[in-house]
Amino acid sequence: MIDWQPLILTFKLAFITTIILLFVSIPLAYWLAYTKSKLKPVFETFVSMPLVLPPTVIGFYLLIAFSPSNSFGSWLNNWLGIKLVFSFEGLLIASIIYSLPFMVHPIQAGFSNLPKSLKDMSYVLGKSRTTTIIKVLLPNIKTSLLTGIVLAFAHTIGEFGVVLMIGGNIPGKTKVASIAVYDEVESLNYDAANSYSLILFALTFTILLVVYLINGGYLNHIKK
Amino acid sequence: MNVLKGNIHKLTVSNNLTLVSTKVNNIEIFAIVIDTVNSAPYLQEGNAIDVLFKETEVIIGIGETNELSIRNQFIGKIESINSNELLSKLVIKTSVGYINSIITTHSLKRLNLEIGTLVTAMVKTNEIMLSE
């Protein structure tokens, strides 16, 4: 029988990451979609970096940044009592950064594809920016939001390099399923590795399939 | 198009229609319009008004014309004639001013119309347009 803890930890991490990302990404994507600032390309590049950088690079820099042996890490540790290296919280922050583009890009595209007149009209009708976002814009980009949520969730499940760098491999704390697979293979427990892998494969396959079905409109008749 | 300048003299309203009596050179010209003072504010007695009608709507008669149903009648002399195969154009000097008329050349010949002939130019009340 396999140890379920890494799987539970994986889903807990993915779940919390997704929730936080959702709240971070909506304002960020809104800003990127509508800003006329010259700084926009710089921010867009930063958001997209995790797509191209090897995960180990991100993990490495976060490890350095969070390490209690440098000033930022020790400040966090001494003043806020937060230890980000080899902890669940550190893992969470790394995951948020690592999955950021997967949440921001679909939402930004959703905002950009909405007719600008909807936003203008809401303003003309006397509604504030917040009301406009919540009541007009977000309800009309539901599929983009769903895509962002699912991609970020699935991508967090699939991460390995960053998690290994910043989280280490502490059972119950930072040992997620992808690392457990690696661990079991290293120990030549192919059966256990296979169990973890199959479960991850089946779950991520299902999640992505549901997204494509919904976005492709195949489920419309079911909704009605 | 014939354009005569005058004033509104009297208005007789019946539901949607107004019979407008205008005075041009102190001679009455009548027009009937689908308007009342509500839909056309210019319909006020005393207002200056243009009286318009198309040349092709001017009927020419000679001799006694009292027995006709045409209310607007102006007596005058033919000043010029421009005659073509089918149509002829007359300019008549009347008491309300110069009036152009286009009639068939056949009628021109039948009535023996020449420059100087005394004629009555006639326009039906429903053919007259008004303009501020």
Partner: protein
């Protein structure tokens, strides 16, 4: 009374353009902005609504300053009392017809006005439908009703009728005129259609390349005599033939071709392609029922 004095550098498809507009609009009047596309008409409406920022200018609406660049007054769109009907209608796809109207209410407003607008603009049967299921004319009516919910000081319509076929168009012109009178609105309308302008507007502003080139009553701007004639159409001359002292004009009026005889004084200044107003007394036409 609305006083407008605005300047804005615009970059359009035709290159740089200086939008420079000074005019006053009488309260309760219906004013049409007329001109080629790209002349800056939509930009004028967007500046009045506060959606586009001019480089400088003043906008004073019934004594209230909406914009005064010298004094750095610039009300947000939310605080300007305008009703706006966009060219694409901008109905909120996630809301039903009624929800679209209710959304326009301010907090604490009585919802009565929504119900009476639904009645006036005859949307009763459509009120629980989503915009995507409506025809162009129906969307237009919803957008018009929604623009009226807040009882605006100015109602602005950006080519509201251009996408509609002529029958629905005519009906909507009536709706717009009715609400314009009923709510004593000051209305700004963008239109390319001269017969529509003649039928609807008190005043026309002709805009060319960002400037007002002509303004006044429709008959002054389009230079025709206001006749008592009721049988009136605008059309385009297709062909002119002369016959003795007469001109025989072939004119396209809407989808129909008609022939009209003109005399020398009328015909000598005309050429093919000219837009003309054709008028006749209403007593001559003979009517046949065909459908």
């Amino acid at each position: 009374m609305i006083e407008i004095d605005i300047h804005k550098k615009l970059t359009s498809s035709l290159g740089e353009m200086d939008l420079n507009i000074q005019t006053t609009i009488t309260k309760g009047s219906l004013v049409t902005l007329y001109g080629n596309s790209g002349a800056g008409k939509t930009s004028i409406l967007r500046i009045i609504a506060g959606l586009l920022q001019p480089n400088s200018g003043n906008i004073i609406v019934n004594g209230e300053t909406w914009l005064n660049s010298a004094k750095r007054i610039n009300l947000k769109p939310q605080r300007r009392k305008v009703g706006f009907v966009f060219q694409d209608y901008a109905l909120f796809p996630n809301m039903t017809v009624k929800e679209n109207l209710l959304f326009a209410l301010n907090k604490g407003d009585n919802t009565k006005i929504v119900n009476s607008l639904i009645e006036i603009i005859e949307l009763g049967e459509l009120q629980n439908r989503k915009p995507e299921t409506l025809s162009g004319g129906q969307k237009q009516r919803v957008a018009l009703a929604r623009a009226l919910v807040q009882k605006p000081s100015i109602l602005m319509l950006d080519e509201p009728l251009s996408a509609l076929d002529s029958e629905i168009r005519f009906k909507l012109q009536q709706y717009i005129l009715n609400v314009h009178k009923e709510y004593n609105l000051t209305t700004l309308l963008i239109s390319h259609d001269i017969s529509e302008i003649i039928r609807m507007s008190d005043k026309v502003l002709e805009i060319e390349f960002g400037k007002i080139t002509r303004q006044g009553k429709p008959n002054q701007v389009f230079n025709y005599k206001d006749l008592s004639a009721k049988f009136q159409f605008t059309g385009t001359i297709i062909e002119i033939k002369t016959q003795d002292f007469l001109y025989i004009l072939t004119i396209r009026i809407g989808k129909d071709l008609v022939k009209v005889v003109a005399d020398e004084t009328e015909g000598e200044h005309l050429k093919a392609g000219d837009k003309i107003l054709v008028s006749a007394k209403a007593f001559n036409p003979i009517i046949h029922k065909i459908g």
